[in-house]
Symmetry: C2
Subunit: 506 residues, 2 copies
């Protein structure tokens, strides 16, 4: 069927066209079917319908198809029904509990990366793997396919170190300490990280307070070879690009299928050529991993997948029920981390966790003997080498290497949450603190966040500040404060929680 | 956040808006999140992102939101993040294998009907119920919710009869015989049916050859009360509208979750107030139901659901491996059915199946004694009462009641598929015949289809016509013919299929 082109300059992130339903009927296609559209070149696209927007005889080409098709202008295109991509049938196989072979999984991931699958098909794939999961073989192939469909870093010398946190604990700014400590000891650590989606600040959001974080894969390699480490945003690098496309559908469904979680982490590590990886698994109420048993299972699966991919993986189950350090939100967290690097002093939870993870990497990388990593990490912090290395990293990424923690200012609009009574902080709700930081503007407003004066178990006096909310914008501060007052993120009680009296006869 | 309105006149079938990613970040929302948009009224909408199409400070309102919001023109709207509908969380519950309660299922179906769920969420729901299914209670509530969220017919007198075929067999034009036979015996049968999506003609596509089929629910009621029966398109009536919205997502995934299949059928029957229902389950290779065991299970589930809803349901497992009658495609099928009504003669498969199902309904409706329904049905056919009633139905729907089968012409462009050798039709591929009819233009071109000269098991001589393809358009005939020649829908073999020789010593 010949149709006249009508460009629609909307990016839909897919190869999509739109037909009048009269032409669609004539052609025998329905919404979600594929058609081959031929001008000077041929593009296979997903069909959308309209009753009125596109007249019969016309074809609406969304941005992506237009770009492909109209390198030379064509007024008339020929369209014909096309088969659905094979991947669409493979998704059905997973739904039916059948196993996919390596070639099938590669084809599927290729179609994901090339935007050949509709949102409906991606949602079905993720829902199906959430319920049915994948075998170890399938997960390995999925990971390899995710690595191979993106850019890869190849370093001339090794070993290449990497770390990852599966997230779920607020204030987890430890990469700002771990990366310079590891690099200061002569190891390469090309650390890519994410921006927060549901959190108050990912490592990339934090690092961006100090320097640009968007670089190509080859720039990442070059900078790492130069100074030993980087802290960049993975999303800009085209490393394991399938992951971002899956997250765009996982996010609205609030699911993170087990096999995808494993593949997502390990593909990013595999693509940077990591030899040794430490994975932080925050564990406990309010995190993603409810208890140690679950944490151990995840750790075993990650280690197993690492072995299959030729990577040494060590996992750290870490205490996740309370924030790391006393700050949540980009600028506040950077200030806290930088102060630790500059002074060697700071919150115990932050220093201890950072030294443990850095120490594991130093041992895995062979620069510290087993059991000596923690000590070497602490030494690297105390003797200022970590700070010096961090400044090199900031400089190589284009930031100001002379920055000190005193230069980092939090949002000027502040409000305090005070203790309602004398007693102890009985409960400290991680998720609520993150929510309040987000309402105050984090992670987009770098200065927004929450400063924590009292953590779980600490004694408080009535009226004493427990949290300070920082915001860059007055109206956001008000929204955050109202929200905090309506449902307090902390519970304060006296030592006596309840008096249970014995039965007394009258 | 205040934004300036930019209308985008595209119907997306959902309440959707589009934000520049800078504003979205500022607001802390991602794709798939919800926002409340307030002008003179407030609408909750799903967020899409753009980098360039909408400038910062602007909000793109797709057609549906614009319609709701702009009854009075507003230039500036206020937007704020909103919670996802509760239904989005309920979908996750089904994924996790948890049961939903009645109120939750009602809320979910309401959100489906009101277009509050994104395609991603609907795809997740259908994939999840495909894998995890629903309990009998859940399926009952799903069905009741589908009934209650649409229009319902209420007749002053009963009993109300209905029939349904789960489909999968080509040429199944029996409703054109069953409905008039049942109505001619004084019973009410307000038959709604579908148009073909993957078939060569649904009952609505067929009836449309003779009369309009798009009516409101109240017109359906009125016409049924007047002449006893109708044959209308369910899609125009707003009866169980959730079903159509689910089918739009089931179709691209090629899935039909068991609980949705049951609910879809029974909701449409419940909504027209049916007391007695016969369900035709075509069974055998090439149909939806592979064997009698599977057919019986489906029948038991339908009967059980009927009981819960207060409907008597009888199921007929019918032979589905071969087409019903000798025609496939709207005009051809109508001509064949009308000829049977006019002459009492025709293909055995068509007459026998129609009489059996009509007979079951006559018995259930109490106008024939047990075991006598078939005979009464045949009598109604032979004495011309069925034809007279069918003409009343055609007339009440606005068609020409004086039509005879000779007036119905098939597409003028024809081509024959002939037997490649002497022998027997060993295999007759239902799906291929449907595909060829569709390539020839069915169901959109009413005159397109396939006339079957030889069915499975019949003897043929080399060169003798086995099928005639009809098309309204020459190019479609050519496409269909090429396709049929490339991969024949029939296999002809001599009686001797293969000679297996004993081992002979040399």
């Amino acid at each position: 069927m010949e149709l006249k082109v009508q460009p629609i300059d909307i990016k839909v992130g897919k190869y999509k066209i739109i037909l009048n339903s009269i032409d669609a009927k004539e052609l025998g296609v329905y919404e979600g079917d594929r058609v081959r559209v031929t001008g000077h070149v041929t593009v296979t696209a997903i069909v959308d319908f309209t009753e009125d927007m596109i007249s019969p005889g016309m074809i609406g080409l969304y941005h992506e198809v237009k770009e492909q098709l109209q390198r030379e202008w064509t007024e008339i295109v020929e369209i014909e029904p096309a088969e659905k991509p094979k991947s669409a049938r493979l998704i059905r196989k997973n739904m039916d509990g059948e196993k996919l072979v390596q070639e099938e999984i590669y084809g599927l991931v290729k179609d994901i990366v090339e935007e050949n699958l509709s949102e409906i098909e991606l949602a079905a794939f993720l829902t199906s793997t959430y319920i049915n999961d994948m075998t170890d073989d399938e997960t390995e192939w999925l990971t390899r396919a995710m690595i191979d469909t993106g850019e890869k870093l190849e370093f001339a010398k090794g070993p290449i170190m990497d770390k990852h946190s599966i997230g779920g604990v607020p204030g987890n700014k430890i990469s700002l300490l771990v990366v310079p400590i590891v690099a200061a000891n002569g190891l390469l650590i090309p650390k890519t990280s994410s921006r927060a989606i549901t959190g108050a600040g990912g490592t990339s959001d934090l690092m961006e307070v100090l320097a640009p974080v968007e670089f190509s894969a080859s720039q990442v390699k070059e900078m790492t070879e130069k100074v030993g480490g980087v802290l960049v945003w993975g999303g800009a690098t085209n490393i394991a690009p399938a992951d971002d496309k899956l997250i765009k559908v996982e996010y609205p469904l609030s699911i993170d299928p087990h096999c995808q979680l494993l593949a997502s982490i390990m593909a990013k590590k595999g693509a940077v050529g990591a030899d040794n990886v430490v994975i932080d698994i925050p564990t406990g109420p309010g995190t993603k991993i409810a208890n140690v048993q679950e944490g151990r299972k995840l750790a075993r699966d990650l280690i197993n997948l690492g072995e299959r991919l030729g990577m040494n993986v060590d996992c750290a189950l870490t205490y996740g029920a309370s924030p790391i350090g006393r700050t949540v939100g980009p600028a506040l967290e950077v200030r806290e981390a930088l102060k630790v690097l500059e002074t060697g002093e700071g919150p115990n939870s932050l220093i201890e966790k950072s030294m443990v993870l850095a120490g594991m990497l130093l041992e895995m990388g062979g620069v510290a003997a087993r059991g000596q990593g923690n000590e070497l990490a602490m030494e690297t912090l105390k003797n200022g080498k970590a700070l010096a290395k961090f400044r090199e990293i900031i400089e190589v990424q284009g930031g100001n290497p002379d920055v000190t923690y005193k230069d980092i200012t939090a949002g000027e609009h502040t409000a305090e949450i005070t203790a309602p009574a004398n007693g102890y902080v009985l409960e400290f709700k991680n998720k609520r603190v993150v929510q309040i930081a987000r309402l105050a503007g984090a992670p987009n407003d770098k200065g927004a966040g929450v400063l924590i004066h009292k953590k779980q178990g600490e004694p408080v006096k009535k009226g004493e500040p427990v949290l300070t909310i920082h915001a860059e914008k007055k109206n956001k501060l008000e929204t955050a404060l109202r929200n905090a007052q309506r449902d307090s993120p902390i519970v304060v009680e006296g030592m006596l929680l309840e008096r249970v009296q014995s039965f007394k006869e009258v």
